[in-house]
């Protein structure tokens, strides 16, 4: 497959042919085909999975659709190999910040001409951007999560505090709670959880990195970003007793044993907290009445710009049944399928379905947060920055009380090395 440089021209020609082959002669008969869909993690509810399989098999008698659940852990590695191989899955979910690594590499089928069929301008714009490359549309939005602050109503009340109106008040509340309750976290924040730090940077007017011509300019050490990072350090050192190098898994444990009074986490954490006490990963359903939730407030009030985690979904360029895969994609982006996400607290891929989230406190908080969500730098190499763990390392060091300015400069250098390298 790989040839020496001299043969590059010939190789390029061969590849063009191969490219044609994928959508042309290599396409297998669609009779009795098997469509393999990779969903990652357990975010997609079972009801949605069943709906997808049943609907597809109904519409295409004789063909089958198989959902293969993959783990987030090591996903980029597996996609890199699997999508380039002959036994490629047909449809894959990929994290929105990872999508660019694959759209830019030509791993996905170009869906530009199907953009309108799949939802058009109703699709979440930030995610459409994440799934596009060079003016072409490759990976559609699948769902978005958003981050909320969960708190114990009684603890806030006991300390004489109320739901904060702006970011400074939120930080002050966290510190006050921690002070009033020794041995407890006013805001639980393990050092590796860098997603939570992004709003602080953005709200202070900073950025992670901005495009500068065809280069990227990392901005963590700008005055605005540093101001945000210092607030992060303030929270991590004064308000949080979470492990300084811990990761964000199992947030419900501290909440349920009472050592976490507030935490900022993806919206689904509500269900982890309220899981039955005898569940596999037990929660504390008795806390339901005491569990409060609000959107992280911004510097000047209102909802802060939070990181919009979520997924995109694309069709492998090597799919043997691109037509069938496209049909399955249409089901995935259908109103019925996406509504199930909304009902389970995930933001659906279409703007028009936002009201499926419901009208309770959580739903309002999600809607407020989602309306102001923001993404990481749209570079194909951003996934590599994440994979190298640069931001995790940065915030672990910040949590330890390191010099913010120096750490930010160091991180900027590394980010630029990767994005421009």
């Amino acid at each position: 497959m790989r040839k020496l440089g001299i043969a590059a021209l010939g190789a390029a020609a061969a590849l063009t042919l191969a490219g044609c082959a994928t959508t042309g002669s290599d396409v297998a008969s669609d009779e009795g085909a098997e469509i393999r869909v990779w969903l990652v993690g357990t975010d997609t509810p079972d009801a949605a999975r069943d709906y997808l399989v049943e609907t597809f098999e109904e519409e295409h008698p004789g063909s089958t659709l198989v959902i293969e659940e993959q783990s987030w852990d090591g996903l980029v590695d597996r996609l890199t190999t699997s999508l380039s191989g002959s036994d490629s899955p047909d449809i894959v979910e990929v994290g929105n910040t990872q999508a660019a690594a694959f759209t830019s590499a030509g791993a996905f089928l170009d869906l530009t001409e199907h953009y309108d069929e799949l939802g058009g301008d109703d699709l979440l714009p930030g995610f459409v951007e994440a799934g596009s490359y060079d003016g072409k549309f490759y990976a559609a939005p699948l769902y978005s999560g958003s981050r909320l602050v969960f708190y114990k109503k009684d603890a806030l009340e006991a300390a004489g505090l109320s739901v904060p109106g702006d970011l400074d008040e939120y930080i002050a509340n966290g510190e006050a709670l921690a002070e009033a309750n020794p041995g407890k976290s006013g805001i639980w924040w393990p050092g590796q959880d860098w997603y939570n730090a992004l709003p602080y940077i953005w709200e202070n007017g900073g950025e992670v990195a901005v495009p500068d011509g065809d280069q990227w300019d990392a901005q963590l050490s700008s005055d605005e970003s540093v101001a945000g990072l210092e607030q992060v350090q303030q929270v991590m050192t004064n308000a949080s007793l979470a492990p300084k190098d811990g990761n964000e898994t199992n947030p419900q444990v501290g909440y349920c044993d009472g050592t976490t009074l507030q935490l900022s986490a993806p919206s689904w954490v509500k269900w982890s907290i309220l899981a039955p006490a005898d569940a596999e990963t037990p929660g504390c359903p008795e806390e339901e009445a005491n569990l409060g939730v609000y959107a992280l407030p911004g510097k000047d009030g209102g909802a802060a710009q939070v990181f919009a985690g979520g997924s995109n979904i694309g069709i492998s360029a090597k799919s043997k049944h691109p037509e069938l895969a496209l049909d399955a994609m249409k089901i995935i982006l259908s109103e019925e399928f996406q509504t199930i996400y909304g009902e389970n607290g995930l933001v659906p891929a279409k703007l028009s379905l936002a009201d499926t989230l419901g009208t309770d406190e959580v739903a309002q908080a999600i809607a407020a947060a989602a309306g102001n969500a923001k993404l990481t730098p749209a570079s194909p190499k951003w996934a590599d920055v994440e994979a190298a763990g640069i931001l995790q390392d940065l915030f672990v060091k910040i949590a330890q009380g390191g010099d913010v300015q120096a750490l930010a400069e160091e991180a900027d250098q590394k980010i630029e090395d990767i994005l421009n390298g």
């Binding site: 357990t42 079972d46 293969e68 993959q70 783990s71 002959s86 947030p251 419900q252 006490a277 990963t281």
Partner: protein
């Protein structure tokens, strides 16, 4: 001759008819033996504790292992974690993954032993041109970090249309364990004196007949010891398996175990410990079976003494 033999049963096999009784008589009267024995108990505890802790955790309810009290004994004994990893319909099931692992591992061991044995025979019993080169290559190959070659290996297996098959994975594992296996067997084959074969040939055996009747039985412990190595390697490998066999029905146990690690941000520690325990059991059982084998191989083959 073999390291794997339970040290307790070892001395009988080592072929020192004269020295041994004297030695044990001498040892019996040493007072320091008590001290050494006490030390051995401490060391046993140190080495076995993590394994105990794994098993202990696997029998506790999840809300207890993440509590403020540490339970050194599963007071509220539960089999729930095992039920979860074995039968939970929401998970990739254990049994098929275990079967895949078993098939791949045993085939790997068998094939690698045969191939390595033939190669070891070639380099120890014959003189030929590229013999030295082959031996050096076998040694050097073990020094290349494999992480960098995964994509190339993926390409090769893909080219053969063997992705997501047990055969493909087995071929890669055979190649993975071969260098070490050949290296090891070379030593064992070398250890069986060629004179024995020659003597048999004088008695009228053909060269191959002499080999099969005389040399081969003496190699049994060596084959077993080397097989254990291959078994452990293949059983535990996960990076290659993760990349080559992405289809859930083709998963092996280490990949299966990893699916428990980050599930929905809420890691089920007790289930992971139960899964780890299940995964370690076959290895331990294999060790125990093999030990007896090796001992008997030794007894019958205590020739060189």
């Amino acid at each position: 001759m073999s390291a794997l033999v339970a040290p307790g049963t070892q001395p009988a096999a080592s072929g020192r008819p004269a020295g041994r009784p004297a030695a044990s008589r001498r040892r019996r009267i040493r007072p320091s033996t008590i001290g050494w024995s006490a030390l051995s108990v401490v060391l046993f505890a140190l080495f076995a504790f993590p394994v105990y802790w794994m098993v202990n955790t696997s029998f506790q309810p999840n809300n207890e292992i993440r509590g403020t009290d540490i339970h050194f004994w599963p007071d509220n004994f539960t089999l729930r974690n095992y039920a979860t990893v074995l039968f939970d319909p929401g998970r990739t099931p254990f049994a098929p993954a275990a079967l895949n692992s078993l098939i791949v591992t045993l085939t790997t061991v068998a094939v690698a032993l045969i191939f390595a044995f033939l190669a070891a025979l070639a380099v120890t019993r014959f003189r030929f041109k590229s013999r030295r080169t082959f031996i050096i290559v076998i040694l050097v190959v073990q020094m290349i970090p494999g992480e960098a070659m995964i994509v190339s290996i993926f390409r090769v297996i893909d080219g053969w249309q063997l992705l997501n098959t047990l055969i493909g994975l087995t071929i890669v594992y055979v190649a993975t364990v071969l260098p070490f296996t050949i290296w090891t067997l070379r030593g064992f084959v070398n250890g069986v004196p060629a004179e024995l074969e020659e003597a048999a040939m004088i008695d009228g055996c053909s060269r191959s007949g002499a080999f099969w009747r005389v040399t081969f039985p003496l190699l049994a412990p060596g084959l077993v010891a080397t097989g254990v190595f291959g078994f452990i390697q293949a059983w535990n490998e996960f990076v290659i398996a993760l990349v080559l066999n992405a289809r859930p029905e083709m998963m092996t146990l280490p990949v299966w175990l990893r699916t428990f690690l980050v599930a929905n941000g809420t890691t089920n520690w007790a289930a992971i410990m139960a899964g780890s325990t299940l995964m370690a059991i076959p290895v331990i059982v294999f060790f125990l079976i093999v030990q007896g084998r090796m001992t008997s191989g030794l007894v019958s083959g205590a020739v060189k003494g």
